[in-house]
């Protein structure tokens, strides 16, 4: 069966809520039924077939072509299946996803993978602020799964993160890992200011020395046994994280944020 392919016909001026177009909600629906689904676009509701050309029938594999940065909530609460986005994705990409896989060939907007529970999200370009974070007012961000960003990410990546991995090949903005409860954020590029701000537990794994706050204390250089296991788990990824030459097990360890619980850590590749 060929993948259900939704090709955007034109770029509407208003933002579009794509949350009805996830694998689980489309199961057993034929193209005509899918075409009749109404999407919120600004204050209007637009049928899918007005906005997209529909091809293919396999609703467990969805391809969104000509995507652009106003298509919000792609893969919201996805629970199994695959979504492939050709182009950019709007805000709230993969929000609360429970399982399955989302791949974006371009950039993603704000709050990508916010409150994600499980599954795999890959963004080939850049991601906006609050990647894997919690929605405003909520206390729990990402709870599991893996996010891979090949470009850069905005501010507050992993805000209130609780479990899972965020892998960033590029740079991370300010407040990376802020208010983390647990989990792992790995950044191959540079990190911004206020790294790990108010983090309680969790690991920030860095390839380059950060600009640390005074509330992080140096614990010395160590060889940590869990790192080879962590890197081994990245081997299947289509990423620089899978490259054995990028792996290391010797790190400078900083504990913090001491203004919070102080059980978090920043691990920096030892020179």
């Amino acid at each position: 069966m060929s993948a259900l392919t939704l090709t955007l016909k034109y770029r509407p001026d208003q933002r579009v809520d794509m949350s009805p177009l996830v694998c689980g909600l489309l199961q057993d629906k034929d193209p005509a039924e899918i075409g009749a689904i109404e999407l919120q676009c600004g204050k209007r509701k637009i049928p899918v077939n007005e906005l997209f050309t529909i091809a293919g029938v396999d609703t467990q594999q969805i391809i969104i072509k000509n995507s652009f940065d106003k298509l919000d909530f792609i893969g919201k609460e996805l629970d199994g299946g695959r979504i492939s986005v050709e182009g950019d994705a709007g805000a709230y990409l993969g929000m609360g996803m429970k399982s399955g896989e989302i791949k974006v060939s371009g950039n993603a907007g704000l709050y990508a993978a916010c409150e994600m529970k499980k599954g795999y999200l890959e963004i080939a370009g850049n991601a906006g602020d609050f990647l894997g974070g919690a929605l405003p007012g909520n206390k729990m961000g990402m709870k599991g799964g893996t996010i891979l960003v090949k470009g850069n990410v905005g501010e507050r990546a992993g805000d209130h993160m609780r479990r899972g991995n965020i892998l960033i090949e590029g740079n991370a903005g300010d407040y990376c890992g802020s208010r983390m409860t647990a989990g792992t954020i790995a950044v191959m590029g540079q990190t911004g200011r206020y790294l790990g701000y108010a983090m309680r537990r969790g690991t920030l794994l860095l390839w380059n020395p950060p600009q640390l706050q005074a509330s992080f204390n140096d614990c010395g250089t160590h060889t940590l046994a869990f790192l080879p296991i962590l890197f081994a788990s990245f081997k299947t990824l289509d990423s620089r994280f899978a490259d054995a030459s990028q792996a290391f097990d010797r790190v400078q360890r900083y504990a913090g944020d001491m203004s919070e619980m102080g059980r978090g850590e920043v691990l920096v590749k030892a020179g």
Binding site: G164, A225, F226, P228
Partner: protein
Amino acid sequence: MIINGVTIDATFAEAFPMKATRAIITAQNEKWAMIAAQAMTGFATSVIACGCEAGIERTLSPEETPDGRPGVAIMIFAMGGKGLAKQLETRAGQCVLTSPTSALFAGIDGGIRIPLGKNLRYFGDGFQISKVIAGKRYWRVPVMDGEFLTEATTGQVDAVGGGNFLVLAESQPQALAACEAAIEEMRKVPNVIMPFPGGVVRSGSKVGSKYKTLNASTNDAFCPTLKGATKTDLSPEIESVMEIVIDGLTKEDIDKAMRAGIQAVCDLGSDNGIKRISAGNYGGKLGPFHFHLQEIMA
């Protein structure tokens, strides 16, 4: 049945259902992995008084271990799941957590999950760190030599304990040499352990005793010094009997190990003083697993 002059008795070994688990111990080098493994499997020859039966299954190359360091696979067998979990945790805590550079991992992925490092983490006094990697939870416990890394749980599976055979020889050195040869071959078989010292037991037991407080006592029918004093099972030329006990994950694993061991003994043959191979049983009434020697060697 006679193989190379060695008589294989028309009898069977009787074995029992047990619960088993496997753990992988790694360390900076094989020496220290082995030290931790030996400590963890110490005082675990028989469930009669040790609470479990444990042994080293084999050494593991760095490519075979989760953290890429040299390792040793150990297995623990107990009569019930509760007892097994208790023994595993106590031994891991006192023997592996304490051993320099060690790390501890699950050796069985399926089965019922029982705590491995799940509770040992509290040794970290709040400084312990959990990491879930590829669906498995690990604990990093800060210790004085660095960090003790342990997987939270390992698998418990149904297993078989008490497979055995007896080597009857003309002298004590010949019996021991035959058993050593057998153990060397049996250690190549996966999923089994021979829990007694060096894999060999010289004090095989029977059920019961004339003393009310004892539930096991010497197997007088196979004691060579009692040939004229009890209802013996030994012919006049037998001067020494030794036993090899095998615990395995399945009946087939024990079959393979018994065959390998008995074959190694028979290869030495009657020229080296080996006269008979027999086995211990309780008339077939107690254990559901029967290992008929002649069928195994057929």
